[in-house]
């Protein structure tokens, strides 16, 4: 049961990461355009944030890891996604007025809007590995399975967002749904963690 729950959480984390990244282009376009450097900024920030998140998640997993703490990580990610709905417009407007070059404007806006939630989302995978590894010899298999599940989630997050969600929902609705999904996953982690 625990294994299934942790895999579901990793899948959800992967799904939200790529869905957010894809929406990033739409969030920034009204202020910084659709040029290649806007995507360059977004991808750079996501890669930086994920690398920092992996590092932090790994360190956090050293101190009495449990499912409830993973639930708190998910809550944190869900909360940090919300500014995308609440402050994206004023934040981008502020940056647009002060940074003339749209390359650095889009980079700064990506840092402000996407760095915080993505760092937290990056913590999920290494933490999940720690929760499932019981012996050194199975660590590679456990990590491999979790990478598979989380990257598969990312693939579906990309496909679902670009093919369907943008056709059915407004941008802010999709972001709110992602935050809601993270909250639900956190509830699942708390419920499964109660028995530990």
């Amino acid at each position: 049961m625990r294994t299934v729950v942790v895999n579901v959480l990793a899948f959800g984390g992967g799904f939200v990461i790529m869905s957010l990244e894809l929406l990033g282009g739409r969030v920034l376009a009204p202020y910084f355009g659709g040029s290649i450097y806007v995507w360059g900024s977004i991808i750079t920030v996501f890669m930086l944030a994920l690398s920092a998140g992996y590092l932090l998640g790994g360190y956090l997993s050293l101190r009495r890891p449990n499912l409830r703490k993973l639930g708190l990580i998910l809550i944190g990610a869900g909360v940090l996604v919300c500014p995308l709905v609440l402050i994206a417009e004023p934040a981008m407007s502020w940056i647009f007025d002060r940074v003339e070059d749209p390359r650095y404007g889009s980079l700064l806006a990506s840092l402000v809007l996407f760095m915080p939630p993505t760092i937290i989302l990056g913590m999920i995978s290494p933490y999940a590995v720690r929760l499932l590894v019981k012996a050194t010899e199975e660590s590679g298999r456990v990590a491999g399975t979790l990478y598979f599940v989380s990257t598969f989630g990312s693939a579906l997050g990309t496909l679902g967002t670009s093919f369907y969600f943008v056709l059915w929902f407004e941008l802010n609705t999709i972001v709110a749904m992602l935050a809601g999904a993270l909250a639900l996953l956190a509830c699942l982690a708390f419920a499964a963690g109660r028995t530990e």
Partner: protein, 293 residues
């Protein structure tokens, strides 16, 4: 077979007479310059299919070779002598060149996202920024916001940033059109080259309507393009448009623009489904909608 060779052979089958005389790498898809039956064309290479972006007839370089470019000149019927013009999308520079000749006093700003298009237009299509014409290499939305902030205004804005394969979605939203409207002078006119088919038609029409109110819909049966003509002031009546067309007939003749035949093709009917959602920065699946019937 090497992929590049296969591509060249594939293209040769589709366009048996087109000779590729130049290939320019670009951040936004390769640009091809081709020669076919005396026409020099700029095309964007997308997959195995190419689309003419801009062409000149080498035997009569002044004549506008493509239907949609001629149709864009209908803008002069709504604003006969604009002093300031903004064109988004350069292509081979046919429109800014013609407008600079016809309106020598006008300040003409052109916005083009791809530096490679500017250099190809210069090298092969004899277009360069000179006199009152300036070219800005940047995204049209970024340009518009900066221009608003800097207090620039234009009497005529021509939007020509879409091709058949890909729509920059942030340039087809209500917010963008509202920003463009604010960039117009009180007597300003906006003319957009866009699409006549697919499910996008209803959404796009509703978007223009919400931004500008009633507009003129200009289509020609043999063309998949449609030209939207919108104005801050109330739209002129048919008699005024016909009079304007007669006054422009002589001057537009060297460009091959049958201007007097245009006013009767303008449609004022709201022929789209008004229940469709307008495209906004929040909801802008233009590329998906364009592929749906």
């Amino acid at each position: 077979m090497k992929p590049a060779l296969a591509l060249v052979l594939g293209l040769a089958c589709i366009f048996p007479h087109a000779e590729v005389i130049h290939e320019e790498p670009s951040l936004y898809g390769k640009i091809l310059v081709t020669r076919e039956d005396g026409f020099l064309c700029m095309q964007f290479a997308v997959r195995s299919e190419r689309r003419r972006q801009s062409c000149i007839d080498e035997r009569a370089p002044k004549k506008m070779a493509l239907q949609y470019t001629r149709m864009m000149m209908a803008s002069l019927l709504l604003t006969p002598e604009p002093e300031s013009v903004l064109i988004t999308g350069l292509g081979g520079g046919t429109l800014p060149r013609a407008l600079a000749e016809l309106l020598p006093e006008a300040r003409i700003d052109v916005v083009e996202i791809a530096p490679a298009v500017v250099s190809v237009a210069d090298r092969f299509f004899d277009f360069r920024a000179a006199g009152n014409t300036r070219v800005f290499v940047r995204d049209a939305r970024v340009f518009t916001r900066r221009a608003l902030r800097d207090g620039k205004r234009y009497e005529l804005i021509l939007l020509d940033t879409f091709d058949g394969d890909y729509i920059p979605e942030h340039l087809m939203t209500l917010e963008y059109l509202q920003e463009t409207r604010r960039l117009l002078t009180p007597n300003g006119v906006l003319v957009a080259n866009t699409f006549a088919t697919s499910r996008l038609y209803d959404h796009e029409s509703e978007t223009y309507y919400r931004a500008f109110g009633p507009f003129l819909n200009f289509t020609i049966r043999e063309s998949a393009n449609r030209i939207v003509l919108a104005s801050i002031m109330p739209l002129p009546d048919n008699a005024t448009l016909r009079r304007a067309a007669r006054s422009w007939r002589q001057r537009l003749a060297p460009y091959g623009v049958p201007i007097t035949s245009y006013p009767r093709r303008f449609d004022r009917a709201q022929d789209w489904n008004r229940d469709r959602r307008p495209l906004t920065d929040q909801y802008s699946p233009a590329n998906v909608l364009q592929r749906m019937d």
